[in-house]
C-alpha cells in the first residue's frame, strides 16, 4: 500500500490531481488508514498511471476513463478502443492543421516587420484585416 505522495511519484500525477480525480469520480476512492489517510494498492496506482498516460496522449479525461474501464474490464473490446483512439488521432490532426494555418498567417504578419521602424506594417495589417464588415444578412 502506498500513501498519496508515493502514488503521485509512481503514477506521474500530482497529489492535487489525484485528489481531484477522486473528488470528481474519475478515480474510485481508495481505502483509508485508521487515521484517515488514503492507501493505494499497486493496482490502483497502475490505474492512475494509465490515466496519466492517456492524458499525455491528449485524450479528454472522460475518454481516458473509458479506456481505463475497457482496459481493466474482463474483455477488451478492441473495436471500441480503436474508435476512441482514431477519434483522438483525428482530433489531433485537426488541431495541427488549424495551428499550421495560424502559423502561416502569423509568419506573414511578422515577416512584414523589418525591425523597429516607426510605421508598423504588422499593425497596419491587423487593423486592415479586422476591417469591420457590413452586417452579414
Amino acid at each position: 500500500m502506498f500513501g498519496i505522495g508515493e502514488a503521485a511519484r509512481r503514477s506521474g500525477l500530482s497529489i492535487e490531481t489525484i485528489r481531484y480525480y477522486e473528488r470528481e469520480g474519475f478515480a474510485p476512492p481508495p481505502g483509508r488508514t485508521a487515521s484517515g489517510r488514503r492507501a493505494y494498492s499497486a493496482r490502483e496506482v497502475a490505474a492512475l498511471a494509465f490515466l496519466k498516460r492517456c492524458r499525455d496522449l491528449g485524450f479528454p479525461l472522460a475518454d481516458a476513463v473509458a479506456l481505463r474501464d475497457l482496459a481493466t474490464g474482463a474483455e477488451a473490446p478492441c473495436a471500441e478502443v480503436e474508435a476512441i483512439g482514431c477519434g483522438q488521432l483525428a482530433e489531433v490532426r485537426r488541431k495541427i492543421a488549424e495551428l499550421q494555418a495560424l502559423e502561416q498567417a502569423l509568419a506573414e504578419l511578422v515577416g512584414n516587420c523589418a525591425g523597429g521602424q516607426a510605421a508598423c506594417p504588422m499593425l497596419d495589417r491587423l487593423r486592415q484585416e479586422a476591417g469591420v464588415t457590413s452586417p452579414a444578412r
Copy 2:
C-alpha cells in the same frame, strides 16, 4: 451608433463575449442610451473587431489588448508589436511540434489495431507504457 447586437455582427464577437470583455476590463464601457442600452461608435466596434482578429490568430486576450492599445495609440512602436507577434509565432510552433509528437505516438498506437479482434494490442501498449515506475529519487 450601434446596439450590442449590431456590434456583435460587425465585430464577429458574440454579444456575451462583448459584455464579458467589458466586465473584465478588456474593452472600455461604451456609452448608454437613455434606457440603459449600450451604444457603440464605429471606432469602438472596430476595436472589438481588432480584438477578435487577434484572438483568431491565437493571441492570449491580454496580448490582444496590448496590441489594440499599441494600434490605437499615437505612435506605433513596431519593435514591441514585433516582439509580441514573434512570441506568439514561437508559441504556435511549439504547440505544433507537441501535437506532431502526439500524432506519431497515437498513429502507432492505433496502427496496432487491425479491426475488432478479441485481444487488443492498443490497450496492451497503453497498459505497458503506463508501467508504474519505481520511485524516482
